[in-house]
């Protein structure tokens, strides 16, 4: 039965769940795919090994394929993202000492990023007055949702990510240790590494990705473009398997089993209890268990659909922070990195409700809203940014010009 061999690289993060479930729950096998999963230690290693053909596909940061196609990576590589591996899943976590200072400055619950950010700004201003050094925040990669959402949040709260703080790269499994050693004061990272730092007693979850931007993109299935072209049938099988795996992961009744699978040594190697929080959206923040709305979505709200508006938003942030100059050709490369056409062609036969559009206005929905779908009923939203801003991909230029001043620390 299994005649199609696919090797996928992944990093030990909770949002590798869909790939892991596709293998462990037999969704890949039932599509005739023998799926091998290889745990990696860095995104650089994932990139290198997909480039030389060790992997056909991989768990990737959503901006990675865009960065590769824009020529921003050291290795020449064309990648596509024909499927997203869920929405949300990250948090911003700070050291106990920083949290204490922020609390004194008025920070409260993690659901209000504006208030948490205002408190952080006050702490930073106080430190500047005392001549203390800049606070250091860790992110996992320059081309990551973590980097961009952290910077977005800081900038919208009046903190200049380039001047008022220092942003450094720390591999996810080392974030808790780096904080314990005092090398960083905070970080933005995917689960379970926030919960690991909290459980170790070093840290406090200050806010989360879904509070900064609800229903926002995080990881994708990255595929080598030439391989996708030459193996469209195998890829379609894999996408169907992943979609079914996502549906399984999205069922609350499966979360305990999923957490147990992910806790295995070959996958995350962390206690299942620690992994369950992100799946259920109930996390220990360090100040008690907190129930989060839409912390991580595996399948709901078209969570696996590769929205080209998501690709363009990431692109707008790459421009914002000086990673790439803005131009029509670059924007087009970014947009075309995400492939809803391949997604629709593969999943059409399943009869699932797929979005009819390939782009949407991000931040426009304030409540769950039925939208146009190829078949059945599809609910999207809410998908707002915490500062009330709206990203209309049709108005990319004005969005990009409008955000420049924020980066300059106005």
């Amino acid at each position: 039965m299994s005649e199609h061999h696919i090797t996928a690289g992944f990093l030990p993060l909770t949002d590798s769940a869909i790939l892991v479930a596709a293998r462990e729950k037999g969704f890949a096998a039932s599509e005739g795919i023998d799926l091998t999963l290889v745990r990696e230690t860095s995104w650089a290693s994932i990139r290198d090994r997909i480039a030389v053909g060790h992997f056909e596909v991989a768990h990737m940061l959503a901006p990675m394929p865009i960065a590769a196609n824009l020529g921003l990576t050291p290795m020449r590589l064309d990648l596509i993202a024909p499927l997203a591996l869920g929405l949300g899943g990250n948090a911003v976590t700070v050291s106990n000492a920083l949290w204490q200072a922020m609390e004194e400055a008025g920070a409260k619950g993690p659901d209000d990023p504006a208030a948490v950010g205002a408190a952080l700004r006050k702490v930073i201003e106080d430190r500047q007055g005392q001549g203390s050094g800049r606070l250091r925040f860790g992110v996992v990669h320059p081309h990551s949702g973590h980097n961009f959402e952290l910077r977005y949040w800081l900038a919208a709260c009046g903190i200049d990510p380039e001047r008022d703080v220092e942003i450094t790269v720390v591999p996810p499994p080392l974030t808790a240790d780096a904080m314990a050693a005092g090398r960083i004061d905070g970080f933005c990272v995917g689960e379970p590494w926030n919960s690991v730092a909290v459980a170790a007693g070093h840290a406090r979850i200050a806010t989360i990705k879904a509070a900064i931007w609800r229903s926002s993109p995080e990881k994708v299935l990255g595929v080598r473009a030439d391989w996708a072209e030459a193996h469209s049938d195998t890829l379609a099988r894999l996408l169907r398997a992943l979609y079914r795996a996502a549906a399984w992961c999205g069922e609350a009744e499966n979360h305990e089993e999923l957490a147990a699978i992910l806790s295995g040594e070959a996958y995350l190697g962390q206690p299942a209890k620690l992994l369950l929080g992100a799946l259920d959206g109930r996390l220990e923040t360090g100040g008690g268990i907190h129930r989060f709305a839409d912390f991580f979505l595996a399948v709901e709200k078209a969570a696996t659909f590769p929205w080209q508006s998501h690709a363009l938003w990431f692109y707008s942030q790459m421009v914002r922070w000086g990673q790439v100059p803005h131009g029509e050709a670059n924007a087009e490369k970014a947009r075309a990195s995400f492939r809803p056409d391949i997604y629709r062609a593969a999943l059409g036969p399943l009869g699932a409700a797929l979005p009819a559009a390939s782009m949407k206005v991000e931040g426009a929905l304030t409540a769950p809203t039925p939208v146009g779908a190829t078949s059945g009923r599809l609910i999207l939203g809410p998908d707002g940014f915490f500062d009330g801003a709206v990203f209309d991909p049709a108005e990319l230029d004005s969005y990009i010009y409008g955000q420049r001043s924020a980066g300059a620390g106005d």
Binding site: A44, S45, A51, V52, P74, P142, P171
Partner: protein, 196 residues
């Protein structure tokens, strides 16, 4: 006049492998070789050493941090890019297969860098082979210990000689088409159960 010899930085948490690479580079005439085992404070070290070539284990989890640092350092000092000449796909494959990643100062001619990277690749492969052989030797020793214990059990329970015990084990292995160490392991396990 020969060009100034290149400065090479080897970053490897595996001290044995790092030593093997360093020795190889020195034998090949590279005088400026620095080995770093811990990436803490690496930015400072790189600023001091100003390496022309950096060789690092592909699996080092800090590569994302390093690459980000190289990117950021563009404005301040000499930019560093990965050793990936797109025309030389086979070299890239050999490096990734061996588990080597290398970065070079931008603009350095490839023919000056290639021997260094080739040396790193061959030393990485040599180390992997050594590690594999060590593993095999260890398991051979383990197997011999198992067989010795099984022989002892048979000699005691059946009152036979060592040679007869060995013959019994070997015959069982042949009949069941299994390794003699596997038979020995089953026997030790079974005898442990019976003793309880």
């Amino acid at each position: 006049m020969s060009p100034r010899s290149l400065s090479v930085l080897v970053i490897d948490e595996n001290t044995l492998r790092a030593a093997i690479i360093e020795a190889g580079l020195r034998e090949a005439g590279h005088e400026h070789v620095t080995v770093v085992h811990d990436v803490n404070g690496i930015a400072q070290r790189i600023a001091e050493i100003e390496p022309d070539v950096i060789v690092i284990d592909l699996e080092n989890p800090n590569r994302d941090m390093l690459e980000n640092m190289f990117n950021l350092s563009r404005a301040v000092r000499r930019p560093i890019a990965m050793f990936v000449d797109q025309s030389d796909q086979s070299a890239i494959e050999a490096a990734v297969d061996a588990g080597v990643s290398a970065y070079v100062v931008d603009g350095l001619r490839q023919e000056r860098v290639k021997p260094i990277v080739d040396m790193a690749i061959s030393r990485f492969n040599a180390y992997s082979k050594l590690a594999r052989e060590l593993e095999e030797a260890k398991s051979a020793l383990e197997n011999r210990k198992l067989v010795d214990r099984a022989k002892g059990i048979l000699m005691r329970s059946k009152g036979i000689s060592e040679e007869e015990a060995y013959t019994l084990l070997r015959r069982a292995a042949m009949n069941q088409n299994r390794k003699i160490s596997e038979i020995a392991q089953s026997l030790i396990l079974a005898s442990g159960l019976l003793d309880e």
